[in-house]
């Protein structure tokens, strides 16, 4: 009969119209500036530098591995030198990342043998200066380990466990094999196990599925 399909379609739209008032499942829109989605734990944006305790106590030793590995070359590091002797000290004097160039690939965090550079979750950056506005210096990049824990708890616990392990061995952090963090970061175990020291021989488990976004 002529009009059957039309009536069915009208019923579908009417059902959706009414359901959107009574069933919150139906309205998937989030009113962004007021409401926010909770980000999945593994979401990442730009890199930042981790410090323990005070900002002076940063983990970075200015080894320049990240600077070399960075595909778009947005990292610029200068090593600090002793004022008297002129010999290099194990800390950066200048550490700049141009966020406008960074492509958020996480390679810097993968290659860092000292767990000094990690990925942030700030996605609401904007600036009025086109050329220098997103150039972050050391001061802007430094963030505490607690902040890191808040953002990526699983990963941060793992990193802390690994660092305390290497301190127990009393070996210098530079001696740590660079391969270990790579394996661990690409395939983290599903639950945080701060007590059990993870090792490279752990078989790779599937990555943690992102939390549902509601």
């Amino acid at each position: 009969m002529l009009g059957n399909g039309m009536i069915q379609g009208l019923l579908v739209t009417a059902r959706n119209l009414l359901r959107s008032y009574f069933d919150p499942e139906c309205l998937t829109t989030i009113q962004y500036p007021e409401e926010r989605r909770t980000l999945p734990e593994n979401s990442r944006c730009f890199p930042f530098l981790v410090y323990d305790g005070t900002p002076d106590n940063l983990r970075c030793v200015a080894c320049k591995i990240c600077e070399q590995e960075c595909p778009p070359q947005c990292i610029y590091i200068e090593v600090e030198r002793d004022a008297k002797t002129g010999k290099p000290v194990r800390r950066p004097r200048v550490f700049d990342i141009d966020y406008s160039v960074c492509m958020q690939c996480q390679i810097c965090a993968e290659v860092c043998p000292f767990d000094a550079i990690k990925m942030d979750q700030i996605y609401e950056l904007s600036g009025t200066d086109r050329f220098g506005g997103m150039l972050m210096n050391k001061g802007a990049l430094l963030k505490s380990n607690e902040y890191y824990h808040q953002m990526h708890p699983t990963e941060a616990n793992e990193v802390d466990a690994r660092l305390s392990q290497s301190k127990k061995k009393a070996s210098p952090p530079a001696a740590k094999p660079a391969a270990a963090p790579i394996t661990l970061q690409s395939a983290p175990p599903p639950r945080p196990t701060p007590s059990a020291p993870p090792s490279p021989s752990v078989p790779p488990t599937p990555p943690v599925p992102p939390k549902s976004d509601v």
Binding site: V12, R19, S20, T29
Partner: protein
Amino acid sequence: MYNFFDQLILTLGAWVVGLVVACGNGVSKFCCGQPLSEAAAHNVAAGTEIVLICVTIYGVFALCFGLATWLERKMLARIQNRYGPNRVGPFGLFQFVADGVKMLTKEDIVPARADKLVHFLAPAVVLAPALLMFAFLPFGRNMAPTNLDTAVIAFFAVGAGSEMALFMAGWGSRNKYSILGAMRAVAQMISYEIPLVLAAVPVVMVVGSLSTSQIVAAQGADGFLDMSRWFVWTPWGFAGFILFLVAATAESNRCPFDLPEGESELVAGFHVEYSGFKFALFFMAEYIGMMAMAGLGVTLFLGGWHGPKLLPSWMWFMGKGFLIVCWLIWLRGTLPRLRVDQLMAFAWKAMLPFALFNIFTTAVWFHLPKATLLQSAVAWLVTAALVAAAYWVVSRFVCRRAGALRVYHYAS
């Protein structure tokens, strides 16, 4: 109490007229030392009345236009499980003010090779018929702006003026999309005007008058049972109402008949080259025309301003019109756009025969005896059977061919 609210607008109008005449008397005394003569006072009162009617209609329906755009966006959004506008004012109610300000402050672009005069005139010419159509609708008890004997004919005649305006817009823009859209608009609106008028003919036949006031008066008083006298409850009235709704949708270029401005193929049809407030005028004309059509539908089939004495008569009229506007929005949220050949086939092969047969059904109804309740029931059933049979025939034989699959010669 009821009468006070029912006649509230008229009372206010009379008060303003009295005020103006009093002011005129005062001015006259001040200038000439004597009050206005009786004839002059009468002229002042009549002039004020006309201005007041115009201002009220334009004001009310311009506001209704704004609210209708808001309602449309809100309803479409909810149909698509979104929120819709909700930033400006409570529930986004003042969105149309923000839109209006945006439109007003936009640059007015005229194509270099456009026909400047025609391009300039078209938006005004398209709005005029839409507003004029309200002159023939009785909005409430004693609230008909004009009391024309040929109001229904005048309504359609004035409404047809918008076709010329659309073609002016398309032609004046000197743009291939505009001209295609305008051609489509003219073809579509002329085609659908025939079923539109034929759908109104049964009402005119039964009432025996073309006056909208008399058509409303024929559809009963204000009791609950009197609602049964609305023409939509008779089989021919129901069929006519459906036909009228479909044709009115096409006449006001609304989805699913919005081919003249089909975005997917014609950018925006006849108003491609319009920006800023000229575009807003086209938009306004579409909505105001839609509301005028809804008003005529209410007048012809839904008993006009009649209704149980719970609400003032003008509220009944506006409420019923609001329901029809909601229906049009619902339809827009549901149906996809037709193809041009389907559109034409539907008008000429389905709606025209059905409308003609509906006139015959009305004649049968008119001549069947309806003195007793039993006779009325028999008449109702007979005409209902006739309408149902006609509908079945149309959907079985005519529409199947109209909706037949198109054979592609090169693309398949």
